[in-house]
Amino acid sequence: MINIIENGYTPLHKKLHDLTKEYNLSHYASSLSALNIWKDIRNKKNLFIGKPFGCQGLFVLDDLIIPPRSIITDPEIFPYDFISVDETLGTILSVALPFKEANVFLTDSFFTMGEFYENLHYLSQNIDYYSNFNIYVDFNNYGISKLNITIDDIIKRMLAFIPENQDKVNFFIYDFSQYSIKDKYHHNLYLK
């Protein structure tokens, strides 16, 4: 199931809102800010956080700061099951595969990856490992603007993937755009 969470009023939200009608997607309006949505997600069990390859900037949410081009290994600083950056989507998802119930939070503009469709295919092939698999997507406007692919294309690919795995995979799509500015700001600090 694809769930679009409308948690703001950015141009991307408007686009997503239109798509929910066009493709008959589940749609939830939320009064929660991106920060509060993140706080909810981070309390979930078996949480895997991925910042896929190609996402250059820092990802900043509350106390979570994921620098680019590194792998975070200190469990005291990052008390999550797994955090990885600069991996393919398939790699990030595969780490969660052995867990029968997994929550995967993909930060930044993960759809910038060219292999998105390919990795969904691999996931689909191994889906028998799952009983419940939630993928939370930070679908921000900044990343989308750099894509050669349209949001419509992405939704179509998701829909093509979903039917066989209807009961096992749920996408939750958010727009965390408001953090993009903060993201770039911190990225500049990091570079200094």
């Binding site: 792998i71 797994f82 991996e87 393919t88 595969s94 595969l97 052995p98 191994n126």
Partner: protein, 158 residues
């Protein structure tokens, strides 16, 4: 060796998962606890690493090419994080009578890689008894060590 592995896995008391990523079926009949990983090699290391997070010991059965194919991911997940694993090289490397020359590059790369990280490698030509082979398997899995075993041609100790 494959029948020995089969027997070992059937009777083990340890929490292991055997990940089959070879192009061919296991040669010695039915193998217990096998997960046939129907995917590209770039997911093997991630999946195996995920098992270690669950405190499950991963045994990766694959030919040389697939083992080394995604070296950077292998480094991140296993070498840098110091997690346990056992790789069983399913290839027939090491037999002069087999047309495996195209794999020799990977063979030598793997040897140097494991040497660099002080990971023990075991050659089928030197594991000359079933008991010795089982002792090594047991030591690696029981003590959550890391190891790499070249199985070579099927039929040894069978």
């Amino acid at each position: 060796m494959r029948s020995t592995i089969n027997e070992y896995i059937k009777n083990t008391k340890y929490n292991i998962e055997f990940i089959h990523n070879d192009l061919w079926n296991f040669d010695s009949g039915e193998l217990s606890f096998v997960k046939n990983f129907k995917s590209a090699e770039n997911m093997i290391w991630g999946y195996s690493y995920g098992l270690t997070l669950k405190n499950v010991f991963p045994i990766i059965y694959s030919v040389s090419y697939f083992n080394i194919g995604r070296l950077e991911q292998f480094r991140k997940f296993f070498l840098l994080k110091n997690t346990p694993f056992l790789i069983l090289n399913a290839g027939h490397i090491g037999y002069d009578d087999l047309p495996a020359a195209h794999r020799f590059t990977y063979y030598y790369e793997e040897d140097s890689l494991f040497k660099e990280y002080s990971i023990p490698t075991y050659d089928h030509l030197k594991l000359n008894t079933r008991e010795k082979f089982i002792d090594i398997l047991d030591d690696i899995i029981k003590n959550k060590k890391r190891g790499y075993i070249k199985l070579g041609k099927d039929g040894l100790y069978d």
